[in-house]
Symmetry: C2
Subunit: 201 residues, 2 copies
C-alpha cells in the first residue's frame, strides 16, 4: 500500500505493533484521527507519551496502579491470607469481574518460556516467595492459562513454595458452563473426566 | 469495568472514539502499550500530538499529503483531463490500488447529509467547480457510495456542472465479480439488470 504522507506511514507503522491491529485497521484509525478535534489528538498523544513514566506497579502485587500500592492491596476488607497468582493484569481484571474472589493477587508479568528467553528471574516470582514468607499467607491459588508455559510456571513456583508451609491450588479446568459435550475438545473433556467431583443430593 | 489506574481509563476513553475499537480492544491496546519500550510510546505519542498540525491537504484535490500539492497532482504523467470525485481519502487509495485509473482526483471530505447538518458548503465542492472551469477538465467521474447521501451529492454536483461543458459519469454498480447471483441483494441485482450492457462475441 502506498501512503499519501510520511506522518501517516509512521503512525501506521506504530499502530500495527499493537495486538489485533493490521494495516487496514491502522489506516482507518489514522484517517479517523485526522478528523478529530485538535484537543483530542493532543490529549491522546500526551497520554501515550507519558504512559511509561506515569504508570506505576504495585510494590506488593506488581499490578498496574496510580500509587505505590494498588486498590486491592490497600483494601483492608479483603482476605489477606490467600494470594491468586496470575500472568497479566487483564487476568486479574477477569477474575475480579466474577466477584467470586475476595483475596489478594500477584501478577507475574509473563510465564516461564525458555524459547523466548524468559526465565524465572524475568518474572516477579522472587517477590511472590518473599510475600509468602513474610505475610502469613495460607493459600496460593494459580489462575494461569492451561498451556505448556503455564504448567511449567506453576510447577516451578510450587517447587519453590514446597517447604514454606503454604497450601497451593490451581483453578479447576473442565467443560465450560453451557457447553455441549460433543463440541468440547478432547483434552478438556479428558481432564474433566479425570478430575470429576463428587455429586451429592 | 473497573480500571486499575486513571491514566488507563483516560487512554481507553480516547481509544474507543476510534472506529472499530471497543472497550475490550482498547484495554488490550493499552496493556500492550505499557510493555512497549519507552522510545516507542514517546514516538507514537508525539506523532499523534503533531498529527493535526503536520498533516496537509493538497491545494488542488484536497487529499492528505506532506506538501502543498499531493503526489498525484504533481505527477505530470497522469491524465489531467479527467477528475475522479471521491468522498474520502481511503476511497482514493482503494481506486489507486486497482491500477485502472490514471487521471486526477478530487476528495470531497464527506457527503451532503442535511440530517447531520452537512451542506454543500461544508464540502470541497466549490473548489471542484473552479477546477472544472480553470483546468480544461473533460470528464468528471463520480466514485461515490451508492447511498442516499451519495446519490444526493452526485445529483447536486452534476447540476452545478451542467452548463460547464464537461462530461459526467458514475462508476458502474452491479454484481461483484465472483459473486453468486442467489446471494446478491435485490437492489443491486435489480440495478444490474436495468443497467445491463451489450454482450458481443
Amino acid at each position: 500500500m502506498e501512503y499519501p504522507s510520511t506522518i501517516i506511514k509512521e503512525l501506521i507503522d506504530q499502530f500495527v505493533k499493537l495486538p489485533g491491529i493490521g494495516k487496514r485497521t491502522a489506516l482507518r484509525m489514522v484517517l479517523s484521527l485526522i478528523k478529530f478535534p485538535e484537543e483530542d489528538t493532543q490529549k491522546l498523544g500526551e497520554l501515550i507519551s507519558n504512559l511509561k513514566t506515569k504508570i506505576k506497579h504495585c510494590k506488593k502485587c506488581n499490578t498496574i496502579c496510580d500509587d505505590d500500592y494498588c486498590m486491592i492491596c490497600s483494601d483492608r476488607s479483603r482476605d489477606n491470607e490467600s494470594v491468586c497468582v496470575v500472568q497479566e493484569h487483564r487476568d486479574l481484571m477477569a477474575i475480579e469481574s466474577t466477584g467470586q474472589y475476595r483475596g489478594l493477587y500477584h501478577v507475574l508479568g509473563g510465564l516461564i518460556n525458555p524459547l523466548d528467553g524468559i526465565g524465572p528471574s524475568e518474572l516477579s516470582i522472587g517477590s511472590l516467595i518473599s510475600r509468602v514468607e513474610n505475610e502469613k499467607i495460607k493459600e496460593v491459588i494459580f489462575a494461569i492459562n492451561a498451556t505448556l508455559e503455564g504448567d511449567t510456571t506453576i510447577y516451578y513456583i510450587s517447587k519453590e513454595l514446597k517447604e514454606k508451609n503454604v497450601k497451593t491450588s490451581v483453578i479447576s479446568r473442565g467443560i465450560s458452563i453451557g457447553t455441549e459435550l460433543e463440541f468440547a475438545d478432547e483434552i478438556t473433556l479428558g481432564r474433566s473426566i479425570a478430575n470429576r467431583t463428587d455429586y451429592q443430593i
